[in-house]
Symmetry: C2
Subunit: 464 residues, 2 copies
């Protein structure tokens, strides 16, 4: 009658910060290297599935497979569901299709789909063939929805009741059908066409007398999630309306599944976190990603940046004569370009963030652009005065310090403008601003940094 | 008997993407400018509190106050709880202490604390004095815990029952005490010293016969949150163990509050998102932050970077003689520095992310450093060959292209090393790596980019 989740028990190998004691990990590694499966099993025994998943992530690829072999059935669907995608793919590659099918069968649809969707087409078919017919049908239905959509994220296991029941009938139905899911936080009320007409939070069911009709007790307004909605959008709805679970409906409005907040929490963490690494051109930035794939992703970005660096360098080459007459220009020019890059990155990070969280919308675009330009002017002025003074102190050349101060103001304006306009434009073009903004913004600040500084210097006839 | 939450009703001013139709916002603005409070109220009437909060965020400061005046009591605690911190502070400044007290009294402790904690000390005292004694006591207790700790985040409203009850007694207790909170997802079981000994998910209570003793039905293992735990750590626990709510305990293990996942979702979003803007030196990067504070935060960072840019420029100045003999060096040197900066930023973003999510721990530090160095070597080699070839094609100078290729390899190694070691070191020193990594990493890649390229050029005696 009890369900036990061994979350960080008292005699735990986890430190206060919920991370493994390194001595414990060393003991596991020793056990694996000595092929002492019994000892490894004993060490892993008290762990929560999420901790076992973490343990796999801490090991190298070779030891991960040995740990999987040592654990046997303790490596169950719950552990796999908690595991980092890359580590899981690596492990599943080593399993036979019927073993993967057994693991997936233990899980709710959403977790089973997460495991199966990343398999190669042929392996996926083999795994699905090895599953019981009803589980297979549920997973095939989920796979028919686009990747990263609500349809992939939802579970089909949910409680739906007709409007004409009473609260007591719901309770009896739940008590009498032990095969129903236990993981639910509200009961959905549907009409004869299986369209949601309301919902009942469990706390509300518990607090309402048995004789009360469902129609009187239910909450009629609820946030319905279309089955093809992007998961990032789903996460924003959950956050905005403080949802614990939500009904998923198909295009004709029928209830087809339920999304719970624990699945959404992962997405919020991933999507917000990935924006950081995507902005830097490191893709999803997962430290468990295979080496070659990681190198490929990062190099693609670096090579694009090499192109823009060559462009910027081409701008410098236009002014070789001026530089050869005054080498101080070569010494100072990186300052203007680099400060522009920093200021542009600040504005860009703010804009990317505001777009990702739906804070920057059509209604406040003009106000936000104006705000960034005011900030750029304030920053350009301060930095221009500072660098102008500094250059005067070192070189005692009023023209040179005037030129660098003016170039700093100009490049900060360029930085502010491109920092906000590039992400906005990409967003309007339906391109993820986190992926592509940085290359355009730093290209602008590099090129314009060199051009404004060296151009002004040539214009005023430096060396004077 | 019903609770209504008007989440995006059918005849909604919200577009499919859950953002306001710009025409709707314009109508609101028009109503405010014409001081037509009745029309504004009518437009706002069907909105969910979260949407009303969004509406405030879209307006400028002056119109926000006019909207607050027009809404009157419709601007309730729920709207304030959903509002962006900066926008809320701006509004609350315009309210009298007793008005703030009235609003806070409507809310659960955690939401009330969020509103009150940011007030100036004197205003805070005035608001607290205007609150009913028991609410005041609860909020003062919460304020006694550190900022951003579990104690601030928790609500005191929860359901706790003794172990010797039956499931039926819990249901009767809930039905007979309408003043109890309705927002709970599990019932906590406590011993006579009010220490948690187990928990019962509501779905479990509903599915268990009335006569079953609580002690037999409850789940004994649960994740307890210490009251002084940092909120980021709380969020990681919720995510890792897929929690919906969790008991908060004081240092003697007594149950003092409950944290629910909807509060945690905001924190995950904020903390992960802020890492992006913090890395760029734009602080929390909120577009609603007051102008002067924003400028101050960003300028502090830019001025620190101006210092490092001057250092890098000092390195260039050591090689003025070499540059004056071969101006092509000035043209090419920004490429080496900028590519190092890009590669360093990639590694740094990955490291900051892995540290923030507890993926990078003592047990896999060496492996992760090795991995980043291998990536740096692979990238350095590819970029070195590409730039070497490119420079040879343009300048037909084998020595120059050899020098830039070698400098590229060296600076990529520096980038990889500093990209991983700087965040790791800051983390060990208990400094947030997201705040301070970038300045050190780009300083290293700038300085070493110029030094390796110009130094090697001087060493091989260029121009040849």
């Amino acid at each position: 009658m009890t369900e036990t989740v061994d979350a960080a028990p008292a005699s735990s190998p986890l430190a206060d910060d919920d991370m493994f004691d390194p001595a414990f990990v060393d003991a596991i590694i020793e056990g694996l290297d000595e092929e002492d499966a019994a000892h490894v099993q004993e060490l892993v025994e008290p762990l929560h599935p999420a901790n076992i998943a973490d343990l796999f992530e801490l090991l190298d690829s070779d030891r991960r497979r040995r740990l999987a072999a040592a654990l046997g059935p303790r490596l169950d669907g719950d552990v796999l569901a908690e595991m980092n995608d890359w580590v899981r793919d690596d492990l599943i590659d080593a399993l036979a299709p019927h073993e993967v099918a057994d693991l997936a069968t233990q899980l709710d649809t959403d977790d089973a789909v997460a495991i199966i969707e990343d398999l190669e087409a042929e392996e996926q078919r083999a795994v699905l063939r090895a599953m019981p017919a009803d589980d297979r049908a549920a997973i095939e239905a989920a796979l028919s929805y686009p990747e990263e959509s609500a349809g992939r994220l939802m579970q089909r296991e949910l409680i739906a009741v007709p409007e004409h029941w009473t609260v007591g009938q719901i309770i009896d139905y739940l008590r009498e059908n032990p095969e129903l899911t236990t993981d639910f936080w509200e009961v959905f009320v549907v009409d004869p066409g299986h369209r949601p007409v309301g919902a009942l939070k469990l706390s509300w069911i518990l607090r309402t007398p048995r004789w009360v009709p469902v129609a009187d007790a239910m909450q009629r307004e609820q946030t319905l999630i279309p089955v093809d909605m992007d998961q990032e959008e789903v996460a924003l709805r959950f956050q905005k309306y403080a949802l614990i679970s939500a009904a998923v409906v198909d295009s004709s409005g029928r209830l087809v599944g339920m999304i719970t907040v624990d699945d959404v929490v992962h997405i919020i963490q991933e999507e917000a976190g990935e924006d950081i690494t995507r902005l830097s051109g490191a893709g999803d930035g997962d430290i468990n990603r295979p080496f070659l794939e990681t190198v490929k992703t990062r190099q693609t970005w670096l090579i694009v940046n090499l192109g823009t660096a060559l462009l910027a360098s081409g701008v410098v080459s236009l002014f070789q004569d001026t530089i050869s007459r005054l080498v101080a220009l070569a010494v100072l020019m990186p300052i203007v370009a680099s400060m522009g890059g920093n200021a542009g990155t600040q504005t860009m990070a703010v804009a990317v963030r505001a777009l990702a969280t739906n804070q920057l919308t059509q209604s406040n675009t003009i106000r936000t652009i104006t705000r960034e330009l005011r900030i750029a002017i304030a920053n350009g002025f301060t930095l221009g005065v500072l660098i102008g003074l500094g250059v005067y102190i070192i070189y005692r050349e009023p023209e040179l310090s005037g030129v660098i101060a003016a170039a700093m103001v100009i490049n900060n304006l360029i930085a502010g403008l491109s920092g906000i306009l590039v992400p906005l434009t990409l967003d309007r073009l339906k391109v993820d601003p986190a992926v592509s903004s940085a290359v355009f913004v730093t290209m602008m600040t590099d090129i314009m940094g060199f051009f404004s500084f060296l151009g002004l210097a040539t214009l005023v006839g430096l060396p004077g």
